[in-house]
């Protein structure tokens, strides 16, 4: 009994500490991203958001909302979509932590980045 109380107290202290550091808020966002699959919209010749941070293991989906076809190609050749016409989608699962820059190989001025934590 005494032992479980101390565990509970510790948990409360840990939670308070984490909250004061802002960790709780971050983990909540991460949890939301896990349930609502992270998405990048391609619109007006740009990727939005241009930089997306996700937890390892998450799958990112790109969707083309432009009247013009685009591609999603990793600068380091980690992933490469087929050409995406209007409303076409491309998904990729990021297992390893790291920074993944990418661009549209048709309109190379369009660049973006996925940061996997």
């Amino acid at each position: 009994m005494g032992r479980s109380v101390s565990v509970a107290v510790l948990a409360v202290i840990a939670f308070a500490a984490a909250a004061s550091l802002g960790l709780v808020r971050n983990s909540t966002v991460a949890a939301q991203q896990k349930t609502e699959a992270p998405e990048v919209k391609i619109d007006n010749f740009s990727f939005g958001p241009a930089e997306l941070t996700i937890p390892a293991g998450a799958t990112v989906t790109w969707v083309n909302r432009d009247d013009i076809p685009h591609t999603v190609v990793s600068t380091d050749k980690v992933f490469k979509s087929k050409v995406l016409d209007t409303d076409d989608k491309f998904s990729f699962k990021f297992d390893k932590a790291g920074t993944y820059p990418y661009f549209c190989s048709i309109h190379p001025k369009m660049t973006g980045k996925v940061v996997v934590q």
Binding site: N44, F45, S46, D66, D67, I68, P69, T71, T75, K82, V83, D85, T86, P101, Y102, F103, S105, I106, H107, P108, K109, T111
Partner: protein, 322 residues
């Protein structure tokens, strides 16, 4: 912001290493009826509406040809739901040009999504053109998914590398270049080392009096790098052409007509036969511009070029489809 960008274009800050005796003579937007003449120089350009005012001497030469561009067959969005119809209108226009153009140059984006049926449709429509020879260079929309293999099989059997080639017609040397492959993140159009080496050799043996016409999809001058409207290594390509008295560069890609004269080099972009794009910096992005249906044909067009042998002058004429 937009005013500043236009200034940059006029003052040409592309630092491409070319001897800058030249100047921007005229920028002509499709449908505005702009007219420019370069005195004692290289190129004449006038819109269709001015054609009746010009005599046969100006509009006809010993060699004339038409340029079409950016037919984007397969595109079906509101900016133009009938790209086949507007391409047909372009062909009718070519068939009506005085001086009977001998051949057609297509400066790329033949298709919208590189689908075989899109290319088939364009081939079928171009069969009704009076000029039977069509010379192509690919646009980025023609080389999707297969790095241009299909395009090469269809249109580039006699070409080198990824599709570049040259040929001679009545003393004019034509060079088709490919600058839509192996594009790098954040970059512009690219010719690449192998193609540049070939170009240097291709023109080395030519007399400096030979008129040169270079055609490629993405502009070989910095139209608007912010939108990718330029070619990374075009300065090197142009350096091989410095010795020539008359060089005309024909491009597409930006779906509007624009011209610049630099010394002996005249740069010219053609309108699209499919849909217009905004002027540099005048919109958030270079996406298709929607104009009222009744205005569409006034912002689409063809370019016809005639060469008068011995004068080393090329007359470039833009016509709208209206």
């Amino acid at each position: 912001m937009t005013g500043k960008k236009t200034d940059e274009l006029f003052h040409d800050h592309n630092h491409d290493g070319i001897n800058r005796r030249g100047f921007l003579k005229c920028m002509a937007w499709a449908g505005t009826g702009a007219f420019c003449v370069i005195q004692g120089g290289v190129l004449k350009s006038y819109s269709l509406s001015r054609l009746p005012e010009l005599g046969d001497k100006q509009s006809m030469g010993e060699l004339s040809f038409a340029q079409i561009s950016d037919s984007h067959m397969g595109f079906n969005k509101p900016a133009n739901p009938d790209v086949a119809g507007t391409l047909k209108a372009a062909v009718d226009k070519i068939n009506g040009v005085a001086g009977n153009p001998e051949f057609i140059l297509h400066t790329g984006d033949v298709s919208h999504l590189s689908k075989p049926e899109e290319f088939d449709t364009v081939d079928q429509i171009l069969k009704s053109a009076n000029p039977k020879d069509v010379f192509y260079v690919p646009g980025e929309h023609d080389v999707l998914n297969d790095d241009g293999k299909q395009f090469l099989e269809r249109y580039g059997k006699a070409s080198k590398g990824t599709g570049w080639y040259s040929f001679d017609k009545k003393g004019v040397h034509f060079i088709g270049l490919v600058n839509v492959l192996n594009l790098k993140a954040g970059g512009l159009g690219t010719l690449g080392h192998e193609q540049l080496e070939w170009l240097e050799k291709d023109v080395k043996h030519l007399k400096s009096s030979t008129p040169i016409v270079v055609f490629a999809h993405i502009p070989l001058w910095s139209v608007y790098p912010e939108w990718g409207w330029g070619t990374e290594d075009s300065a090197q390509a142009l350096s091989y052409l410095k010795k020539f008295g008359s060089v005309t560069i024909l491009n597409g890609h930006i779906h509007q007509t624009m011209q610049k004269v630099e010394g002996n080099v005249t740069f010219h972009t053609a309108a699209s036969t499919a849909f217009p794009q905004p002027q540099p910096g005048k919109a958030d992005s270079p996406g298709p511009m929607k104009v009222p249906a009744e205005q569409l044909k006034s912002v689409l067009g063809i370019t016809s070029v005639s060469s008068v042998q011995g004068q080393h002058a090329l007359a470039v004429t833009d016509s709208t489809l209206a």
